[in-house]
């Protein structure tokens, strides 16, 4: 088990960079990370690893010019060389008129969720998942602990946290190429400590989805979708890429550029970033050492604000929100702890109030098509919600839906695929008005679902 590198040792190495001559300012970001991963497929472990790494990243200011260098040589000499490289980089660039200076020393807010280690027995977790699913299960559990210590002249910041991630995809064997009856279900969990992780429950969720998605049917009607929570998180996450960054907002590259105060989403949509929330594991300071706090981005469907670091805040004539990424950072600030405020409807309520549609539980391989139009592309997996009152599985807790799949590839009678829907283009920012819950318009990409 790896131990923490103490503040004294970090400070000693950092001082080797901070003492760089001929520099007007030096900033040292130190990261220490280790973690283990156990991956399994067909109920066998096929990858079990542990790794540990340390790294420093040095930003040097010289006559208004900025240079950055990084190294994983955590030694006095490594730090010194990184600082010298950063200074060399600074000498060949033009002065940055927008450089606001390094962040001033201020108290760092306390992060609420620092947990002890995540446990070591990956095989035990795997066994529990396999017992829960009793199926051929690909998946993985990942334990990670990090320490980050940002230092610069006049102030120190440090923080440590533990993240446990678990993901399981339970697949059921089909009856062969001619009868693709197999289903699949994905479930994942995110926890701050081992007490919060229940591998068996994750496996059961995935297995239940797999069972529910067996024998997919084909649909021939254009559909609008209601994303499940996992799918919605993908959509909200992409807004971070195409919408909320201060640099893209200021430069007109964002889908929200020039739309502050405008209605950009349904009034039931509220999105914010909060690294200090109980629901996430964010750093209490950003990578410039600026304390983080909650930023309301979209309130009741109205675009309120983006996120900023020191440089983009100066560029936009505002103040930093504490969202700097590690330098060099050409894309600018980024919200790493996004939340969408819950509404009042349950998933069952939304399904019950939908005449005809598609329940999307997960997106795969999403990508930005047009940032200003906030168009992304991706592939969905989910269930067809048939016309109200005509569902064939309305019993118990099961949704009144049935799984659907896309047409297969020529050459394979079934295409060898158990994907449950054809791809479609997602159009964000123009949700259909609905009284409750999030409805993101899921527009038909290229025709109805077909066999």
């Amino acid at each position: 088990m790896t131990g923490l590198i103490g503040p004294e040792e970090v400070r000693r190495v950092a001082d080797a960079a901070l003492s760089l001559p001929r520099a007007d300012g030096v900033e040292v970001l130190f990261m220490h990370e280790w973690g283990g991963l156990t991956r399994f497929a067909s109920s066998s472990i096929h990858q079990s690893t542990h790794r540990e790494d340390t790294g420093i990243r040095v930003r040097v200011v010289s006559e208004g010019r900025i240079g950055v260098a990084a190294s994983n040589d955590f030694s006095l000499e490594g730090a010194r060389r990184a600082a010298e490289s950063a200074l060399e980089m600074a000498t060949v660039v033009a002065p940055d008129a927008l450089f606001p200076g390094l962040a001033p020393p201020v108290p760092t807010p306390r992060a609420p969720r620092v947990r002890r280690g995540g446990g070591r027995d990956h095989a035990l977790r795997t066994r529990r998942v396999r017992r829960a699913t009793r199926r051929d299960v690909p998946g993985g559990f990942h334990r990670r602990r990090r320490v980050r210590d940002a230092r610069e002249r006049g102030r120190d910041r440090q923080h440590r946290w533990t993240v446990l991630l678990g993901a399981v995809l339970a697949g059921l064997r089909d009856d062969g190429r001619d009868r693709p009856d197999g289903g699949s279900g994905f479930a994942e969990v995110f926890a701050a400590g081992r007490g919060e992780l229940d591998p068996a429950a994750v496996g059961k969720r995935a297995a239940d989805k797999a069972v529910a998605s067996r024998s997919p049917r084909d649909s021939t009607r254009p559909l609008h979708g209601r994303p499940g929570a996992g799918a919605v998180s993908t959509l909200v996450g992409f807004l971070a890429w195409v919408g909320f960054g201060g640099r893209s907002l200021h430069e007109g590259r964002s889908c929200f550029s020039g739309k502050q105060g405008e209605q950009v989403a349904s009034p039931i949509v509220t999105i914010y970033d909060d690294a200090l929330s109980e629901g996430t594991l964010g750093l209490p300071f950003d990578f410039e050492g600026v304390p983080r706090s909650r930023v309301d981005l979209i309130g009741d469907g109205v675009f309120l604000s983006g996120v900023y670091d020191l440089r983009t805040a100066k560029q936009a004539g505002t103040t930093t929100t504490g969202h700097a990424l590690p330098p060099p950072n050409p894309e600018g600030p980024f919200p790493l702890n996004l939340f969408m405020a819950p509404g009042e409807a349950s998933l069952q309520d939304m399904i019950a109030s939908t005449d005809h549609g598609l329940l999307v539980t997960r997106f795969h391989y999403t990508n930005i098509v047009h940032p200003v139009e906030s168009t992304i592309t991706g592939h969905d997996a989910g269930w067809h919600v048939p016309d109200r009152g005509r569902g064939d599985r309305p019993s118990g807790q099961e949704p009144a839906v049935h799984p659907v799949h896309h047409r297969g590839a020529p050459g394979h009678p079934d295409g060898g695929s158990r994907h449950r829907a054809r791809e479609r283009v997602l159009l964000l920012g123009q949700p259909r008005p609905r009284p409750q819950g999030l409805v993101v318009q899921l527009q038909r990409a290229f025709g109805p679902l077909t066999a």
């Binding site: 690909p138 995809l169 098509v369 054809r422």
Partner: protein, 389 residues
């Protein structure tokens, strides 16, 4: 639980270095910056351009592999590349043109001499002009028609719809929980009609200049030239020692880690389409009606690598063998084997380019591989274009 069986490989002792004429790390930083500054200055000289950006990508990695089987290998690879990107903004529209390719340009396992040949400065004004012109261009129509792709987009098409589906760990379900699986099955070797007879695809780790070139992979398996598709029929997977043994085969030598801290995975080497005959101009000249698309800008494909939707930066109408109307926001969609089955022209050696893809993601924790794809401009019939929300 069954014990792992590794396909046999002879222990080897050796060294390998990628070919290089001028060490890019010995070129003065000022010279590199001056090249980019001049290219971006020329882009900014075009009225209406919002941003001109350029980058140089230099990469050197030295690895040493030792195994208890007796292998001892030292390898060094140097890769150099560069690219420019012009962005135009106007009236709620954003358009971008890149040269020589999008996503960091054109990277090769070579030295500074590769970057000097790219022509970043010479092509800067044309690149910026096209970005500005795209703001007022027509939207790519939604229709089923003939599609001609430049070699840069064929590179992406190969990567997503041939390279990934033939990774044997995907086929065996090992990556299904994260990166996805494949529609290709072990019994498809030698029988699956994957593409038209014009399409032959080869994985070649010995190709000079490829980002997927090496002497031995990270299991000590020698670099090989492996036929993937022969005249359109699927023949071989890319594999590791563990996965190859499942099928009773020897490894194709594709096990690679992106750094010291990561577990090697099956990664593409240089997976290329074999050139046929004719230039891009010949293919366009031989097309009565259709659309020509250039330079990838977006991609998505399902987790079995069947359905895909790809976008390009720019397109033109082809009318009677000539490029006419410019289109913006072009994209197309297809089913992997259907699309490759519709290929009726593959360009010759004169327009075949060995591209570098430095951003191939896979694995948990995520790894980013640098792989290569040789590609010629190609033509496909009856393709659905202009997918809109």
């Amino acid at each position: 639980m069954e014990p792992v069986v590794l396909a046999p490989v002879e222990p080897v002792t050796g060294t390998w270095h990628s070919p290089m004429q001028v060490d890019p790390f010995n070129v003065p930083l000022e010279e590199k910056v001056a090249m980019l500054m001049e290219a971006t200055r020329r882009m900014q000289s075009i009225d209406g351009l919002a941003f001109g950006e350029g980058g140089i990508d230099l990469f050197r990695r030295r690895t040493f592999l030792a195994t208890s089987e007796g292998t001892s290998i030292e390898q060094t690879t140097v890769q150099s590349g560069a690219g420019i990107e012009a962005t135009a903004l106007g009236d709620g529209e954003l358009q971008r043109r890149s040269f020589p390719n999008s996503f960091r340009g054109h990277i090769s396992a070579a030295g500074w001499e590769h970057i000097q040949k790219l022509g970043l400065i010479e092509e800067a004004e044309r690149t910026a002009t096209e970005a500005v012109e795209l703001l007022s261009a027509k939207e790519c129509p939604s229709e089923v028609t003939t599609l001609v792709l430049d070699s840069g987009q064929v590179e992406l098409q190969i990567h997503e719809s041939i390279g990934h589906p033939v990774e044997l760990d995907r086929v065996l379900g090992m990556e299904e929980a994260y990166a996805g699986s494949s529609f290709v099955r072990p019994e498809d070797r030698g029988s699956l009609r994957y593409a038209s007879p014009l399409v032959s695809i080869t994985a070649d780790a010995s190709l000079a200049g490829g980002l997927g070139s090496f002497g031995w992979d990270d299991e000590g398996v020698p670099a090989q030239r492996v036929p993937i598709l022969v005249d359109g029929v699927f023949e071989n997977f890319i594999s590791s020692r563990e996965t190859a043994s499942v099928l009773g085969l020897t490894s194709s030598g594709a096990m690679r880690a992106d750094g010291w801290a990561h577990y090697p995975l099956i990664r593409m080497t240089n997976i290329s389409i074999e050139p046929r005959e004719g230039s891009l101009a010949d293919i366009i000249g031989d097309t009565d009606d259709g659309v020509f698309m250039s330079t990838n800008t977006s991609w998505s494909i399902d987790d079995h690598r069947v359905n895909f939707q790809f976008g390009c930066e720019i397109a033109w109408r082809i009318e009677k063998g000539r490029l006419t109307t410019m289109y913006r926001n072009p994209n197309y969609t297809g089913i992997t084997t259907e699309f490759w089955g519709s290929c009726d022209a593959v360009g010759g050696r004169e327009d075949w380019t060995l591209w570098g893809t430095p951003n191939c993601g896979k694995g948990q924790p995520g790894q980013v591989a640098r792989v290569g794809h040789g590609a010629s401009p190609s033509r496909f019939r009856n393709v659905q274009l202009g997918v809109r929300g």
